[in-house]
Symmetry: C2
Subunit: 374 residues, 2 copies
């Protein structure tokens, strides 16, 4: 019996744990929350901060292999464990690269992955570097950014005072045609499975509205994006599942945006729409098993269920939502709602992608996760 | 938050619980085993016998709806609960009908479902009734039969001493061309979703070898079988998922064999191969949600992982098994192995059914669940 230790017990860990248990593995979870989404599926639970090195070592002791469902964990201890010969997947080396957006881009540029033009800009020289770089530009703080945080668009010299006071990189402002993402799984023997290209559709407030697969882009561009995504994961010597976010710009260039060394929101559709889900691939890869097929069986549209209000969660409209064909609802079981918190997701599958989109639009207006205010 | 109480914590309850949690429901399980397959997924666990009425009432008190994953439970208490207005699905009335094979067939014959010819034969009049009925015949004891137990084939008058000493029914010996099964889901509003016909392939020892879907039978026979299966569930006024086992005989007749008022072994393929799994359908039906589509997305072959030896289970050959495309392994997490105990199952999907069968044959020779002898 193999036991998988997961640092982090959120929805990604929950869905990993479900696949792990299906394959007969046990699961141990470390999470600061007493009642985390994955907790109810874990054979063992350690309640501790993701930064608590001693507790991460305790998790390693009761497990046979470690993985994680978030990037902001104690990398130092994971690296020590790896150096001691303990299996940690994906390698904490990769976490170290990814936790610093500048380093991430430098490593990728060195590996000849197409990336937006960028320069390093330390905190004390931000304005000077920005003027040199030219406008419009995008500032990204090197650390701590997540879901759009730590990012600032500076359109003209007049906006220089908006710069965030932190060590950063300055990136060219990409004229985005579409934001796309590709999931890539890679096993311990170097074999790779690449998923189809996903298209991210944003609303006016720049919040991810829908995820559409296959992406409505030319076939040669889709192949190019898959090729780049695989090269990214190979360049990192990654083992596990990776989410590779990219831009397709108005000139037809595909440029790397960001790497997630874990199951990713843009891969949730794989549960219903693909032969093997991103979570099963991850479990297979980190336990030394061969990968499954990433083949898409049916087009899909996914949207997140973002929290509304505060308090204990209540799912509204579930019954009506499920009355549409091909609608799959995932509620993560988070104990409390906060506005815009990811409380679940919905996948709509249909042989006709336009039909799936139509149903997804309708269902999105129906199903909500709201707080009871207490 | 709705909490589903399940009497029984075996593999069927485990897979139900996974779907229930996905939809945001909580789960409470009653099972005599301390470490049952569903236990690790349950929010609440009651350790007690399936016959313990007080404990079943306790389960009802902490739950919002009751269901079960086996038939041999305390029906009396479930009926009392239902009479008090507590929701129990499928209705314990149905359990009562099904627990007695004679009553099951009588009810079905009355509903004009095609059944093999049969007569009642009480324990003290077995031989006499058998002679009257004629040979060959099949004796089925009215109660307690399971997985082929309680069944005796009497080919000639000379074999009369083989009759099992129990109240029974005597059934015509059907010249079986194929054994088939159909899963049917029915919601609280009378809507029905019917799954494709599954073909059961037995080995020389008459143990189920493979389950093949879609069944290799003429299309009009498949439609007839689906029609009969739906009529069975309607006749019972069933709510939930039902497995309807039937015979296709050498004269082309389709005859009812047995009814399972719960998720069924012959519906496991739905997890990977259908739009909505039998487990999700069951959870939807019993919680008052609408059903999902039962559409088959890809042909499938399923086989059970039967235990070998005794002791703690060890999965052998997992890595090699998963190296074949479209192979999905489910290990139930039962704490100990016994010979022929269902320890898990494997589903092989492939757009080409013959290819799926070929892979299933190979993989069946590779993957085993063996006891460590301790």
């Amino acid at each position: 019996m193999v036991r998988i230790g997961i640092v982090g017990g959120g929805q990604l860990a929950k869905m990993m744990a479900q696949e792990a248990r299906k394959l007969g593995f046990e699961v141990a979870v470390l999470d600061p929350q007493e009642k985390c989404p994955a907790c109810g599926l874990a054979d063992y639970k350690i309640t501790a901060s993701f930064m608590d090195g001693d507790k991460i070592r305790e998790l390693a002791e009761i497990s046979d292999v470690l993985t994680y469902d978030i990037e902001h964990v104690n990398v130092k201890v994971l690296k020590e464990l790896e150096e001691e010969g303990y299996p940690v997947y994906p390698s904490p080396r990769i976490l170290e690269v990814i936790q610093d957006k500048l380093v991430q881009m430098e490593v990728m540029r060195k590996a000849r992955i197409p990336v937006p033009k960028f320069v390093r800009a330390d905190r004390e020289e931000l304005k000077e570097k920005a003027r040199e770089f030219g406008f419009p530009l995008v500032q990204k703080t090197r650390k701590g950014g997540y879901d759009g945080k730590g990012v600032m668009v500076i359109k003209t010299e007049e906006e220089l005072d908006k710069l965030l006071p932190a060590d950063s990189m300055l990136q060219e402002f990409v004229n985005i045609e579409k934001e796309i993402a590709v999931m890539v799984a890679r096993d311990q023997y170097g074999n790779v499975e690449v998923y189809p290209v996903v298209e991210m559709v944003f609303n006016e407030a720049n919040i991810l509205d829908f995820l559409v697969v296959p992406a409505r882009i030319p076939e040669d561009k889709a192949e190019e994006a898959q090729e780049i995504a695989m090269r990214v994961v190979k360049a990192l010597d990654g083992v596990g599942i990776f989410g590779i976010e990219m831009f397709l710009d108005k000139d037809g260039r595909i440029l790397l945006n960001e790497i997630a060394p874990r199951p990713h929101n843009s891969g949730h559709y794989t549960i219903e729409a693909c032969m093997t889900s991103q979570f099963e691939q991850h479990v297979r890869a980190i336990t030394g098993l061969p990968l499954g097929s990433s083949e898409l069986l049916v087009p899909a549209v996914m949207f997140n269920l973002l929290g509304e209000g505060y308090g204990k969660p209540k799912v509204v409209g579930l019954k009506e939502a499920l009355s549409y064909p091909g609608v799959y609802v995932h509620v993560y079981g988070k104990p409390v709602v906060r506005p815009l918190r990811k409380m679940g997701h919905v996948t709509v599958v249909n042989k006709d992608l336009e039909k799936a989109l139509e149903i997804a639009h309708k269902v999105k207006g129906i199903i909500k996760v709201v707080g009871n205010g207490s």
